[in-house]
């Protein structure tokens, strides 16, 4: 009943992607793979999993909303939509029709760092999946025209209306990223983009973007499922080899910055006020990344976590609270979000949050808290390994971030190594600093908003 294809996923909302308790039994966790690099630069990673007769194809293009130009926010995601509008040998609407006729599903998503595309279906549909992916990489531009751009521009604007403008609190995140990151920083705009910039996107922009970023040397394909690695390699070489290498790509290199204390108030059609506290965080896989993930669990990961206890169950000031570490490829941020129960102003919630942050910075988490966090994080990841599609996306993710597709055990080790002192230190070093305080309050209720004030 619910069809949400080509849905936008923001990295800010990403869950912890962490490894498994398998290693607790003394067996290092391994996701075996075969890797092949074509002369045109395309990388193929194959993981065999014969548990069910299905296969998934997962393509990452190393381009995201962070690569957009000023005045063209939302373009990487708009482009993602255009990738489904047909190519020379599979004209519109064959992409979806052929896959459905094969019993397969497909979708794509865009975040600040990358765009992915995937198909899932019966193993016998793999040649079709690869053929469609090859055709839109090698033979799409000739078929692109203004009506296609105009149509998907409308669809994406509708997506913005549905997922942001018509959602309570829906505009908070784009205001937050603009406040956290300095003007011009790749993460200072939202992936969905602004209506004005979506309107401005032209067919020439589409062509330029395609020629720059949609090249085999900027893509990695993971195939996971009930297939044989050697025949997948042969198929991929057969279908992709004649697509020429693209030009070298210049990546954004944002300058370091210091976040300044900022207070923002938005009025929205909401019943209950909500406060967002956001700090400058770290790059993914950097030294303090795992400790910040553990800190977010200690703050709000479970019923007995500190902020949940303090705000939802003890003081009963909030309906819910969520802390998360949004580390990304180039930089990161850390957020705490809490919604007030009826009758409470956001400054009251902020005072409780600050007291808990100070307490954690002063004496750190208990050994039991750390152990609970690590076990919960490991279990979440073991659950994800049940799905070939989740493994495929993770192999692509690890490969892009670390150069090693099978980084599962190493990733687990990062969390294993975190100590109570590490958590105490990262709370002190990152969360007792300048921050963005954003309040969303009901129309006309500005007195409920949180006021200026850093944690003392």
């Amino acid at each position: 009943m619910n069809v949400h294809p080509r849905a936008l996923r923001l990295a800010a909302a990403a869950m912890l992607a962490l490894p498994t308790a398998l290693a607790a039994q003394g067996t290092p966790l391994r996701v075996p793979f075969v890797i092949d690099t074509l002369p045109n630069g395309l990388t193929l990673i194959v993981h065999e999993d014969h548990s069910v007769p299905t296969v998934t194809t997962n393509v990452w293009y190393h381009v995201g909303s962070g690569d957009e130009k000023v005045g063209r926010t939302g373009f990487a995601h708009l482009f993602e939509h255009l990738m489904f509008m047909g190519s020379q040998n599979a004209p519109y609407p064959q992409f979806d029709r052929l896959l459905e006729a094969a019993g397969a599903n497909n979708n794509g998503s865009t975040n600040p760092d990358r765009t992915n595309y995937y198909e899932e279906g019966p193993a016998g549909a793999l040649p079709l999946m690869l053929w469609l992916e090859a055709d839109r990489l090698g033979w799409m531009l000739e078929t692109m025209d203004e009506p296609k751009v105009d149509l998907q521009r409308d669809v994406v604007k509708n997506e913005r209306r549905q997922s942001y403008e018509n959602q309570p609190y829906g505009l908070a995140f784009e205001n937050l990223v603009t406040a956290i990151y300095p003007a011009g920083h790749p993460y200072s705009w939202s992936t969905i983009g602004s209506m004005a910039d979506l309107s401005a996107a032209s067919l020439d922009d589409v062509k330029d973007f395609f020629r720059t970023y949609y090249a085999p040397n900027n893509a990695t394909i993971v195939v996971a499922g009930a297939v044989r690695a050697d025949s997948v390699k042969a198929l991929v070489r057969q279908m992709f080899s004649e697509i020429p290498r693209g030009p070298a790509i210049t990546r954004p290199t944002p300058a370091p910055f210091t976040l300044r204390d900022t207070v923002i108030v938005l009025q929205d059609r909401v019943q209950l006020p909500r406060v967002y506290l956001a700090w400058h965080g770290v790059r993914e896989y950097s030294a303090d990344d795992a400790a910040l993930d553990i800190a977010s669990y200690v703050l709000s990961g479970a019923r007995n976590s500190r902020l949940t206890q303090a705000l939802v169950f003890n003081s009963e000031l909030a309906t819910g609270v969520n802390a998360f570490n949004a580390s990304k490829r180039l930089d990161g941020d850390f957020m705490v979000i809490a919604t007030a129960r009826p009758g409470h102003a956001l400054d009251t919630l902020k005072t409780v949050i600050d007291a808990e942050l100070r307490r954690l910075a002063a004496s750190g988490p208990t050994a039991r808290e750390i152990e609970q966090a690590k076990n919960a994080i490991e279990a979440q990841f073991l659950n994800r390994l049940e799905f070939a599609s989740a493994k495929a996306d993770q192999l692509n993710s690890y490969h892009y971030a670390t150069g090693q597709p099978d980084f599962f055990q190493r990733d687990l080790d990062r969390y294993r190594a975190v100590t109570a002192a590490d958590v105490q230190r990262v709370v002190r070093d990152y969360l007792l600093r300048s921050r963005v305080t954003l309040s969303v309050v009901p129309q006309g209720r500005i007195e409920l908003a949180a006021t200026r004030g850093v944690v003392q």
Binding site: M1, V3, A24, L38, P39, N40, V52, P53, T54, N89, P93, R97, E100, A101, G103, N105, P122, A123, G124, A125, P127, W131, A134, L151, D154, V155, N158, R161, Q162, E165, N166, P168, D230, S231, R237, Q238, M239, S241, E242, R245, R269, Q271, L272, G301, A302, R303, N304, T319, R341, P342, R368, E371, Q372, A373, N375, A379, L382, L385, E386, A388
Partner: protein
């Protein structure tokens, strides 16, 4: 620049043609102009389900699935939201409360212990069942099952915890007023299922019913409902059926039943069958989009037309390439997505076609919805549309049986209608047999065009004149306060 790229392309081709892999795939002979053939899909195999029953009546189903050292346990307590009777939301509230402390542990100690074991224990209710699920690594199954037994058999239901969860739920109900889609669903259900029908009031209750909840009600409900004769376990994962039976027998074998059993209210009213189109508008001033829901009473899950209905709906609005999505999203650009579906419940649910559309094309979108619903009734679908829909349904089944949770989900969903997992194999055959005439027949019978209920939530000042001009039928309005009562 261009020339250099051409040279590189040629170099790539030469290199590729020299690799043994490319040779084995006959790179030279590859014809890119047509899609590769699909390898035939193997006949559908489904996991074996072994069933047993404890002496006190507890049912057990076990699927041995040893891919990962994981176990997924689902306990279903028969009844579900239809047991709410005069207190809408009570069944789902009890499902919340059993996790708020049990046995010797208060809520925090319980959650801490579960997380410590890497276990996830959740509970919820639908219209048929309360379901408690446990996911845990095999090596921690025994201590996690001990906690699950506490939760099911020995919940604390402390008055202070009941009050706290009740207040949280009231705040959540208040927030429904902000959500156009939630408002549309609430209004639609109220209209389609009249007062006295079990589906009239929401599964999660309303503010009035929630305000009454106290620990005595929760205790009584638990005693009358959580009983061995109504309990069935589905265990999927890294253990055999003998082992599973023993582990469950130790913890649930002496589960007693005492006192009166809670039963659903008799169904005295039927879903609303309109004499004409019933158009109901809900005002959300300033809304960026309008939420449209068009529907009518649906059909029994046990209908012999089930497979034909699924095929028909896949063509109408059940897939990305469906007519509704192709028209409203991909051709007109009115929406991010449009779809349709049948609710399959023990009592017939509804058929609903739905979309969130741009405010200034609300009337045009309604025209397209009715146009597509008429078209699938009035003319035969194309043979390639039929073939695509059948393949999509049939070939997608193995992908729904990949994880332990998916297998448990399929087993329990079918069991709600007394069907075994092997029914999926029959379903494949039934889908294969559907003809274009069948599609038209079930469309005419179940797709409402003359008498549906139509709910639109949006900015009425902007959308009402256009909707009136369509002359769909009588138009009334419902206030937000009437839908999400305080």
């Amino acid at each position: 620049m261009t020339r250099r790229l051409e040279l590189l392309a040629r170099a790539a081709l030469v290199a590729a043609s020299l690799t043994p892999a490319a040779l084995s795939a006959q790179a030279g002979a590859f014809d890119r102009s047509r899609p590769p053939a699909l390898a035939p899909a193997p006949a559908l195999t489904v996991p074996t389900v072994r069933t047993a029953r404890l002496d006190n009546g507890v049912g057990i189903r076990v699927v041995e699935h040893r891919e990962l050292p994981l176990v997924h346990v689902t306990l279903q307590i028969a009844g579900g939201g239809r047991l709410d009777r005069d207190t809408p939301g009570l069944t789902s509230f009890v499902a919340t409360m059993i996790r708020e402390g049990a046995g010797a542990r208060d809520a925090n100690a319980l959650q801490s212990e579960l997380a410590f074991l890497g276990a996830a224990l959740n509970a919820g209710a639908d219209w048929d069942n309360t379901s408690i699920t446990l996911r845990v690594a095999r090596r921690n199954l025994e201590p996690a099952l001990d906690l699950m037994a506490d939760v099911v058999l020995r919940p604390l239901f402390n008055a202070a915890d009941v009050r706290r969860q009740r207040d949280l739920r009231l705040a959540g109900l208040l927030q429904q007023k902000d959500q156009p889609r939630a408002l549309a669903s609430l209004a639609f259900n109220t209209l389609l299922f009249p007062d006295g029908h079990p589906y009239h009031r929401p599964l999660g209750g309303d503010s009035a019913s929630t305000a009454q909840l106290d620990s005595a009600m929760v205790r009584n409900f638990h005693a009358g409902t959580f009983r061995p004769g109504r309990a069935t376990f589905t265990v999927v994962g890294d253990l055999g059926d003998t082992e599973a039976r023993a582990l469950l027998g130790q913890r649930f074998g002496s589960w007693p039943a005492s006192g009166p059993e809670r039963t659903p209210a008799p169904v005295l009213v039927q879903p609303t069958r309109n004499q004409a189109r019933n158009v109901v508008l809900v005002d959300k001033p300033g809304a960026a989009q309008s939420v449209i829901m068009i529907g009518a009473p649906g059909v029994e899950r046990t209908s012999p037309d089930f497979a034909a209905i699924q095929v028909m709906n896949t063509i109408l609005g059940g897939s990305f390439s469906s007519r509704l999505n192709s028209n409203l999203r991909e051709t007109k650009g009115y929406t991010y997505g449009a779809n349709s579906g049948f609710q399959w419940r023990p009592l017939p649910g509804a058929f609903v076609a739905s979309s969130d559309v741009r405010t200034n094309v609300t009337d045009s979108s309604l025209v397209e919805f009715f146009g597509e619903m008429n078209r699938i009734r009035d003319s035969l679908v194309a043979p390639d549309e039929l073939a695509r829909a059948k393949a999509y349904l049939r070939l997608g089944i193995p992908g729904d049986l990949e994880s332990t949770a998916q297998i448990a989900g399929q087993v329990t969903a079918l069991a709600a209608f007394n069907l075994p997992l092997t029914w999926l194999q029959e379903y494949v055959a039934r889908v294969d047999a559907v003809t274009v005439e069948d599609v038209q027949r079930v469309a005419r019978r179940f797709i409402p065009v003359a008498t549906p209920t139509v709910v639109v939530v949006g900015d009425l000042e902007k959308i009402r004149p256009g909707i009136e001009a369509l002359n769909l039928g009588q138009i009334t309005t419902m206030a937000v306060a009437e839908i999400a009562k305080e």
